[in-house]
Symmetry: C2
């Protein structure tokens, strides 16, 4: 039996956002591996072993997946959103680079709807022009690099999407990020806090940058900061947030 | 009859990348509107009018879609990729902002797999850490702003994805963009040229920045430039391109 490894994106939560490509590969899998809540999204069935693991053990999880594939398993590593955006694809490739015995593994990466694009779509098109995506976690990079990127992104007038803005173990960073942005942007541009986007308990909130507070975000929140031209249109159906194509 | 307007992303080309959400809304549509090759992806059926239009008439197309919805149509504006990324969502919202009679339109935006994420997944995870997305067309913004963003993105050490890098009517810009990047980056970091990604005639090519030429891209190409840490792993199955999570 020849094993393979697929790294698949489950999208932000709504089952109707899982691509048919991902659904098909999950139907062939012998093993599903990932962070507990993502593995929980995969229904149990005969012939499928589910391997949930804790957060922050990405490299260990990646090696486990490579071992199972080497042993002949049809292995799917599941990520929320898109596996290539602050998720498991890079971790698996790091594991391969450090363990040459896995270089010949049959690997596929299957894209998914990443949280920032789902969040943007729910309220308009705030990423409708040039934008950047920044992981605000300083678990793997120095905080100074994050601040530098925030300042330069503001100077470039990018719209910005932030992943992992704030966690119990990193309560301080997001407040510092907001302070950097308020100083660099100097205006009341709209900021979208999208929590559990596309799930039944989704919450969407637009707040002027000048009125943002750190408590508005947690690890289940993606934050989108407009550029200088991003605007809110009030409509009878609620606010629409968008960035013009000329911005 | 109450009309509505959905702005839907068809993904980069492979039908297996169209979300079930988009498939469901297309099944309910009375009208499909979009750029000729995107409308051509929707099969004809009884009860469905297809309205293909030329490139560069986005605002006219948006107004047409709003008129059809106001007249009771169940209208789907189709974009390639994700409608919120350099596509029709922002154009429709601009049209609504300029024509208040459409403010009450029942609008939904349905995300899709955008080209940069599909291209990244095909060869690894080059957007696996902080990155930006820039539309290189200067049809709607000054070229000076594009150059400024390129320089600041290089200084921030973002990986970068470029949409609309080069067209017959704008043959010069991409060469200038490459020159800016060569000067700003000063290294031979890998650049991915992904043309017609996920289609039968897909072409993927990794070229060191120092050896890139403008002819390597056209309007069907998405270009991904690594950051300073992006690397290529050579494997028996071909090269893998990725950006470490610590970069």
């Amino acid at each position: 039996m020849t094993g393979w490894l697929a790294i698949a994106g489950l999208g932000p939560g709504d089952e109707a956002l899982i691509t048919p490509e991902v659904t098909a590969v999950l139907a062939q899998a012998t093993d599903v591996i990932g962070y507990v809540p993502y593995v929980a999204r995969i229904a149990p069935r005969d012939g499928l072993s589910r391997h949930p693991s804790d957060n922050r053990v990405e490299l260990m999880r990646a090696r486990h997946a490579l071992e199972l594939a080497a042993a002949g398993g049809r292995v799917v590593v599941v990520s929320s959103g898109d596996p290539g955006v602050f998720a498991m694809a890079a971790a698996v490739l790091e594991a391969i680079e450090s363990a040459p015995e896995y270089l010949a593994t049959d690997i596929r990466i299957l894209p998914g709807i990443t949280a920032m694009l789902a969040a943007a779509a729910r309220l308009g098109a705030p990423l409708g022009h040039d934008f950047c995506a920044i992981n605000l976690s300083d678990n793997l990079k120095p905080w100074a690099l994050i601040e530098k990127r925030l300042r330069l992104a503001a100077e470039a007038d990018f719209a910005m999407a932030f992943y992992n803005p704030r966690s119990a173990s990193r309560p301080e960073g997001f407040g510092r990020a907001l302070a950097v942005l308020r100083a660099a942007c100097g205006d009341a541009r709209p900021v979208l806090f999208a929590r559990n986007v596309t799930r039944p308990d989704q919450s969407l909130r637009i707040v002027p940058l000048t009125e943002t507070t750190p408590e508005m975000a947690d690890m289940r929140t993606v934050v989108i900061v407009g550029n200088a031209a991003t605007r809110v249109i009030e409509t009878p159906r609620g606010p629409i947030l968008y960035t013009p194509r000329s911005a």
